[in-house]
Amino acid sequence: MRYAETGFELEVDLSRGSIDRVETDPELTKLHLGGLGTSARILWDRVPAETEAFSEDNLLIFASGLLCGTAAPGCNRTVVSTFSPQTQLLAYSMMGGFWAPELKHAGYDKVIIRGKSPELVYLWIHNDKVEIRDAAHLRGKGAIETAECIRQELKEPNAQVAAIGLAGENRVFYASIEQGRSSASRGGIGAVMGDKGLKAIVVRGTRDVNVARPEEFMSLCDDVLKYIKYRADHPIPGVPAILQGLGSPQEMAIVDEQWHTTSFMWGNARTRRKDFWTHEIEEKWRKTQEDVRTRLIGCYNCPMKCGATISVPGQPTYMMKCYSKLTYTMAAYSDLEFGFKIAQRATEYGVDGFSTPQVMAFALELLEAGILTDADFPGMPADVEGRFFWLLDRIVRREGIGDVLADGVYWAARRIGKGAERFDHNTIKKHEQLPLKLGMLNPVYYLMYATGEKINITQIEGQFPQAPFPTMEERAAFVEDWIQVPDDKFKRYLLEWEPRGEKSNPHYPSVQASCDVVDWQEKMHYIDDALGTCAGLSSFPLKPPYHIHNFPKFISAGTGIDFDSSSLWKAATRNRTLLRAINVRRGMRRADDKPPEDHWKKRFPELEKTLLDEYYKLKGWDANGIPTKESLLDLDLACVAEDLEQRGILGKANASAQKSSPGEEAEGKKALSHA
């Protein structure tokens, strides 16, 4: 008997219309745990490196984490992985909500989609009964609307639905997959779903999910709940409001947006408005938020309330979480009321809340600069809010300029030409980033931006404070009950970290310390993404209830496969290395590992080179960012080493390693970033 996992996957070939229930190899659980880890293994084994995103051979994998569907609080994440049309690299994006546990209860750990359906269809999974059903009547419908229609036609109010909107159907490169409460929206995974002709996957399950050692597992769960309660009563002092507690940043509960609105950039990541936040704005935004917010809501088996039901008068109700309330607001230099309004339409269309507003702000900048003209925007309203709505409608339909913009800033800039490339100043590996432009290089963030396979900073950071505490008293108080550290050296790193002087950015944390901090932070994300634990209770916030010391106990008691912290650390290292290998096999190299040129005003090329060198060494990669044969063998990835050798990627790559330095192709961007 398999514990925590079901031991079965659903293989669906939409070209052939076939559905198979396949037993999985328990050895893969030992190696990769589940979720992103086992999904990455499937993508490595089964998708040839040359496969394009919109190919029948590309797989789209919906995976539950290893602990989803057990009693472990907040273990509810669905990990969707595929190859991205935008970055052409591995794309994975997660969503909370209720879908993954429902899939477990239906009897499956994953749904693996291959091929393309000639007609629009949806997949209906009800325990053993699985059907591919016609979705012609759902074409063009919003993602949330689609879910409601399907629940009604199946008469299954408790079915969980993951659906795409118009953007996914039309293969917009930043289309999302929406689940009502949550969305998996980064990397263009919704476009791949649309390309496969798959409108939705609907699940209802009424089966047991078993654990190996029940009493032990339950006592671990009780401890986590106790710690969540403790943290609710003990917010972290000395950090911005949204970083004090657990969960995704509590954007729906908190009105105080001083930190986002004055530290993040407005427009196409252009303008910092240090004086924006005033008492009047706070009162106005408070009223806006409280007027539209019906209820604070949680995900499956989690006491947090990171999301909210939003009802803007005159618009259908939708659900929202986190920072998307501000991304449209700030890209348009508008206000919160506009943000809530346009997010409703964007959610129905199914587009990513990070990329979309930036693409639209980018388009308006090109118009202002004369690179695009009024002729490119026929009929566009004059006001900025109206323009955003107009652009959104064009993008998701790929009409006119919308067709160009639907590929994202990087590709649009190159299609438009005439200097538009200079306005592409906030992408990494062709993917739009958070609108942040800062002063002094931060070595920890430099490494995370440059090297993260997620290509998204919020899915890499966490655990270690983002800024030093000013006084030794505050630092001492912080480290006192810092039980989450894997090693006491991290306490020392924090104690010694000063806001100014020798022991401050960019030279402190030291190169070694920076590598260690990044290694720890991303390991915790890799563990979460394999187990299905929400980052909001684990890798993202300061002092979370899940950490490297209790995770092995959860896995051991849950699955019956014994892990300790060092074997879990190794499994996370294996998954991290496998993701790197997947992207390396698709051509990613050191030259691609860089943040946007203008992310920091003060850059230190020598230091950055050393940081990258040392980080690669710590990871067991060569100077070009390619995992070495020795490290692959040590991680039981001999098949990966062999493949990379056969392709000539391993064994000869070092020659070109040192060529690039950050910002080599960015001469033009510099001028603009200071404009």
């Binding site: 569907g69 057990t70 009693a71 609080p73 209720f98 209860h105 949330i144 409601e148 109010p157 009502g180 409460r181 399950g205 009424t206 089966r207 047991d208 999910v209 078993n210 654990v211 029940p214 009493e215 597992f217 339950m218 709940l225 969540i228 309660k229 609710a232 019906t294 209820r295 604070l296 809501i297 949680g298 995900c299 499956y300 088996n301 989690c302 006491p303 947090m304 309330k305 039901t309 009802s311 259908p316 109700t317 939708y318 659900m319």
Partner: protein, 179 residues
């Protein structure tokens, strides 16, 4: 009828505080699993959240008595502008819906307030609801001495008889009793 003092256990359900996470369903199914905590399955839970996020309906309902027949109630309530079917408030395990039945056997489920030896301080669903949507109260009340109610096994057998008929149940028991 003689009067006796009886411990009354009740749960105040503050639906306004419910975040819809269904932790109550999860822990209920785990507590009643055999062996205890060995499996999770909200479909077996004796508390269910009637949950329609887009209409802001979050209604925790506890499993009550088994009933063999549908009732005639098809009325609609409107409370604070939100529309509820009468059914949504009902605790019965009844033929008209799949709520409060074991998913495989169809046998009825009923909340037992997590009776245990030694007794728990409060039912598990209350303990796991960190949002205080479920508050446990215990008080003593003078009540008329009740007739002994049917034990669980009889309720289960009654449900089986309602579903399959007496003869089929007798036949099945006879078959299973053979060595």
């Amino acid at each position: 009828m003689p009067k006796v003092m009886k411990k009354i256990k009740s749960i105040t359900i503050n639906a306004d505080l419910c975040n819809g996470c269904r932790a109550c369903e999860v822990i209920c199914s785990l507590f009643h699993a055999t062996p205890r905590y060995s499996s999770n399955n909200p479909a077996r839970s004796r508390i269910r959240i009637v949950r329609e996020p887009l209409r802001d309906i979050y209604l925790p309902v506890y499993a009550g008595e088994y009933t063999p027949a549908e009732c005639t109630g098809r009325d609609t309530y409107i409370i604070d502008g939100k529309k509820y079917d009468e059914c949504e408030f009902c605790r019965a395990s009844c033929p008209s819906r799949d709520l409060f039945k074991e998913p495989d056997s169809g046998l009825p489920l009923k909340c037992d307030m997590c009776e245990d030896e030694p007794p728990l301080a409060k039912p598990k669903c209350v303990e796991w609801c960190l949002n205080d949507a479920l508050i446990f109260e215990e008080r003593e009340e003078e009540v008329e001495e009740a007739e002994a109610s049917a034990p669980d096994i009889e309720i289960g057998v009654e449900a089986l008889i309602d579903k399959h008929g007496l003869q089929q149940v007798l036949d099945a028991v006879a078959r299973m009793a053979k060595p």
